[in-house]
């Protein structure tokens, strides 16, 4: 389940005189189809043991009562719009679960840190980097640029985890791997591993915040190339654009179409694939939005520029970051700045323009490749699994 749709939020509740940890249940969130919704509170607390039964009950309830006959309405978010959480709760209890549904417990939402748009001094917001475990050992979170790791790198990751830690690897909610149980004495050797040159524990703020859906390369509903383009954009931003020193991450999320699998809606700067006309030709383009994020109070981006030709997007981002740096109050994060500065003012300061960034995918439009087709594969590796550089 995508993040603002979060089904289970950590919570605690007193049951039979005892404080029990578990989850509050929220339903009916989603980002796609230009109709985003935040998940709504079902006013139900579940223990870890009961969570499965309650979610299963809701899925069965939706199966019976949701608009499964109507493809455009067949989303739980529209079902919740129509029915309301109270009626769903009653039906769930009456017909779909055997356990007693407790009212919501004390939520920990205010303590959510991931993508909450808070400044670094308020604590870590992800698990990338070297961090302490409660048992005195370390864990090391690696940033996978634009979410792509080759098979050989994945094997190397397993080897490294075994050589320097317990062999256990966990994944963050951003699908970044965490190498667990590293003794302090082994840390320097681990950090010197070649794998960590690519999948870094200490990425740039742009690399750390970059995320993209699969895009036209492997998805038949996407409108634009995404991962390779974002890789190039992040490189350009790393080299050419300075963030204020106290900004450790800037989330740039890129989806190839309005389905928003890349979570553009919940980014500092959200990008969605479109098409535009430039110099008399149809080119790949992006809608640009700002000010989204998660945390205790999720917000969706507001759109500030439409159909920006892809080669002008880094220039647009540069102008947004320049405006942020110039107009922010001390310590404000990008999301905080957008909220206080106002989106309409940001619209005026977003200036798409060509820069030294070059985009080789401007006319890539739907180069969908069938695996059994004759001719060359557009996949970004050679047959020997050697990544083809995006340069």
């Amino acid at each position: 389940m995508v993040l603002p749709v979060q089904v289970l939020g950590p919570a605690e509740k007193e049951l039979d005189g005892e404080i029990v940890t578990g989850f509050n249940v929220r339903i009916g969130g989603g980002l796609g189809g230009r109709e985003p919704r935040k998940a709504r509170d079902l006013d139900v607390f579940v223990t870890r043991e009961n969570a499965y039964h309650v979610i299963r009950g809701f899925v069965e309830l939706y199966h019976d009562h949701g608009r499964r006959d109507n493809r455009q309405k067949n989303r739980s978010r529209f079902f919740v719009d129509d029915e309301g959480t109270e009626a769903i709760r009653e039906l769930l209890q009456a017909e779909y679960v055997d356990v007693v549904l407790h009212r919501a417990g004390r939520s920990f939402r205010e303590e959510y840190t991931y993508n909450a748009g808070r400044p670094p001094e308020e604590g870590k917001v992800d698990h990338v980097g070297v961090h302490d475990q409660p048992d005195g050992r370390k864990y090391v979170g690696l940033n996978v640029p634009v979410g792509r790791m080759t098979a050989k790198e994945a094997i190397a990751l397993a080897d490294v985890a075994k050589a320097y830690g317990s062999g256990q690897i966990r994944l963050t909610r951003r699908q970044n791997p965490i190498i667990m149980d590293v003794e302090e004495a082994a840390l320097d050797d681990l950090l010197a591993e070649p794998l960590l040159d690519t999948h870094q524990p200490n990425p740039t703020p742009f690399d750390r915040g970059g995320m993209a859906c699969t895009g036209t390369e492997f998805c038949d509903i996407a409108l634009t190339e995404t991962k390779l383009r974002l890789t190039r954009m992040l490189r350009w931003l790393n080299t050419n654009v300075d963030l204020p020193d106290d900004v450790e991450t800037l989330k740039i999320h890129y989806s190839g179409c309005t389905a928003d699998c890349g979570h553009a809606y919940t980014a500092d700067i959200g990008l969605q694939g479109m098409r535009a006309q430039k110099d008399g030709e149809i080119v790949e383009a992006l809608d640009v939005g700002v000010g989204g994020g998660l945390g205790p109070h999720p917000e969706f981006v507001e759109w500030v520029s439409q159909r920006v030709p892809a080669d002008e997007v880094p220039g647009a981002i540069e102008s947004l970051i320049g405006a942020f740096a110039a107009h922010r109050e001390a310590g404000q994060t990008f999301r905080e700045w957008v909220a206080s500065f106002g989106t309409e003012s940001v619209v005026d300061l977003c200036e798409p323009t060509e820069t030294t960034y070059e985009d080789p995918y401007m006319h890539d439009a739907k180069q969908t490749w069938y695996p059994f087709a004759e001719g060359e594969s557009p996949a970004p590796t050679t047959v020997d699994d050697v990544p083809i550089t995006s340069d």
Binding site: G32, G33, R34, D69, N70, R71, Q72, K73, T216, D220, I221, A222, L223, C257, T258, A259, M274, R275, A276, Q277, I282, D287, E302, W303, V304, S305, Q306, R307, T343, V347, K366
Partner: protein, 100 residues
């Protein structure tokens, strides 16, 4: 800037068409999305939808237009488009007057 109302994916009929929204004494040039599909709630008809980009509109509120065409109307429209497309490609003169 308003949210787009139409979903835009590779299955959308046209993700970019040039156009104008026109009023009695104004005109907004805009890019548009045009989509042909069938609505679940009216499966016996063909739906033609169009939306100008909100950022291009000054004189009219952002919106999408939905036309519900019977299969016969849809075929009629397709035939008319084919006919005009052929004469545009052939470079034929644009006929004057109303009786065209």
């Amino acid at each position: 800037m308003p949210i787009r109302l139409l979903d835009v994916t590779a299955y959308t009929t046209f993700d970019f068409v040039s156009g104008r929204a026109v009023g009695p004494d104004w005109s907004d040039e805009s890019a548009a999305v045009v989509d042909v599909d069938r609505a679940d709630e009216a499966p016996e008809s063909v739906r033609l939808r169009m939306e100008f980009d909100g950022s291009d509109l000054e004189h009219v509120a952002p919106h999408a237009d939905h036309l519900s065409l019977s299969p016969e109307q849809a075929r009629g429209l397709a035939a008319e488009l084919e006919r005009k497309a052929a004469s545009a490609e052939a470079g034929e003169d644009v006929p004057g007057g109303r009786g065209r």
